[in-house]
Symmetry: none
Subunit: 209 residues, 4 copies
DNA sequence: TATGAATGAGATTTCATTCAT
DNA sequence: CATGAATGAAATCTCATTCAT
């Protein structure tokens, strides 16, 4: 398991001038001050460009948020799904690796994860629906695993339909308090949460690492 | 177990003119639009008074938020502690009742719970410290229970120092998605989360309801 | 010549409840922050009473200013006139004693003197006219002395019609920089300005102390 | 001696959009209503631009005042120093020309001179210190002349260390009452005050024009 | 693309003043 | 006389956004 430091920025160069710098600056600004607390001037300053130039890339502040959230959720979904696909057939292993991937993302891209949970409420209309759908896809991965595990007896939880949501809540909440360099490393956090998740769905102890 | 409906408003009449109305309106406004998204005009409108009159009660928007958060955290702490005190000596029973009380509060005062987790970041200085301390006191209740249970063998989790935080995260996250009239009742939510918590700390199945 | 410290407050108890306290608080507030910079709340705080109670004594902020200015100018006029009346017939002695009295007032009631020159511009209408008239009466004392001295040859200034204004300007400006406990005492300031005044109107040196 | 009319506006076009218009409007507004009595709306109206656009040029009302005061004091200092440098070595001639230049400035830029004396009190911190230093530099010119004249016997005043302040007070007070088109012309005012100053420091009559 | 200048709307907060008690 | 509560207007300043260049 890779315990390396994050790639630091979620959004890599997009090949379109300042676009990546703007998105990363928006991410930082929204993370630090919240969507409504951050101003377009903050974003411009962080991106090292002018206020008016932002509008050459994104038609509005809302679109900026939407794009940031879309990328964060896509990356989270993609990492989680890849991890599950490579985990074999056992529900316990799949849940363990899903949680590891999820928590790993939260640690690697803490700000992105924080923004993804806390600022989605400021989206409206179509933008919102698209992002909500992406978030729900990720949660659905966990729900399917838990349902499968409950179905084949691996998990004995009496609440297979609801447990996944609590697992996801628990994992994403890491973004609200995690600080790099703290007592717990990326790997430890992943392991702990994997165990919490398996215990929560009442997988037999033998299934625990 | 009491399954009654909430008392509806967290802040009861204080006997001081519009104070309670203002606090409740602030709670609603912050809950709906976030601290920075809600304006003092929104609060005034909700309280049925004039914008400038707000300042006869609270010297600033920040103080208003601080007071709302203080009351929400105090009530949550008080409910949780009372529940634990009446739960007997067994760690499992204490944890179960703490979770029930906590989730009960979240359901009863969903908005207050939501604001308490999501808007605390907009406080500064002393106000922030006081509210953070109140929040930490509540979490400490859970930490002590888990530590005690781990100490006497009731809980087998290898992470007794960290599990409590995940339990609290999981419980407070209910405020972000719960809707009255949904599939799960107040009592069901409390029971489910109590079981999640006991499973998470790896209490033997016999301890589960 | 009396070199005592000031009586500290220009406005003595008026026998009408809080009136004197309010006037003195207004004087301090206007002196410190200017008429527009000081609020009625500042005045109330300084007077140790409630905001609304101010309006039981004075119908508006402007009236408060007018009353403060009226009292300051009346006292200044009265002191100056008394000094001149007791000074004998010689223009030089009359001018010397007028200046001594004027500067003495400025030192004793620095704030009042400062407010009297700098805040009169914020009065309107009748209030303004009354205060301006009081101020002009004081200046007229100096003009008459200079005119008399120029008429009888005591003063040789070629500008007898204008010199008095400069003398008064010079004396009242003391209020803008004087600090109790500074290098120059009340008596020294009075003497210096008396000599400046006599020199300015070109009284022969023999007439100087 | 030049008796021409003023250049009308202290602040000439700076080549930066509306900057000069804003500074001149601020000068007028502060002169008419005082710093606290004038609103940023007044300034915007006077400058022919929008309220919010003011903040593209100056970050706050205080900065606007500071800049206005800085320019006024710089110009006054520069004019006075230039006059003295061209006046030869005799203290009497230097004092005479310094006063002429000072009073000339007051007449030419009456509003600027008025604001410079009366509104400096509303500055704080560094802004204040810088402007106070500029004002003191101008006064120091007069102090040096008087000290020199007292040293070489040209002036017989017993108060060489203090007389300069009174001279400056007297000259700057002209800004509080001068009205163009009044009885006294620019040149007459300059001459009168030059003579007052020389008399005040007790220069022998032979030295007077 | 990129920018500086511009703007109308709206933010929080303070104001002088009034009123019921 | 005295007060706390209330209010409409206006204060300074920031906002997202637009436009001419």
């Amino acid at each position: 398991m890779n315990d390396r430091s994050p790639t630091a920025t979620l959004i890599a160069d997009t090949g379109r001038g300042n676009e990546a710098a703007i998105l990363n600056a928006a991410l930082e600004a929204f993370g630090e001050k919240g969507f409504n607390g951050a101003s377009m001037r903050d974003v411009a300053r962080g991106a090292g460009t002018s206020l008016s130039n932002l509008y050459n890339y994104f038609p509005s502040k809302s679109h900026l948020l939407a794009e940031v959230l879309r990328r964060a959720n896509d990356e989270l979904y993609s990492r989680t799904r890849t991890a599950v696909e490579q985990a074999g057939d056992a529900a316990a292993a799949r849940l363990r690796d899903a949680v590891r991937a999820y928590v790993g993302f939260v640690v690697d891209f803490q700000t992105a994860a924080l923004v993804a949970i806390s600022e989605i409420r400021y989206l409206d209309g179509d933008e919102r629906e698209r992002v909500v759908a992406a978030r729900d896809s990720t949660q659905a991965i966990f729900e399917q695993i838990v349902a499968a595990g409950a179905g084949n007896g691996e998990f004995r939880t009496p609440y297979p339909a609801d447990a996944a949501r609590s697992i996801v809540s628990m994992c994403s909440a890491v973004s609200t308090w995690y600080r790099p360099g703290g007592r717990l490393s990326r790997g430890q956090l992943a392991e702990q949460h994997a165990r919490y998740a398996l215990a929560l769905v009442e997988a037999p102890l033998a299934g625990l690492a």
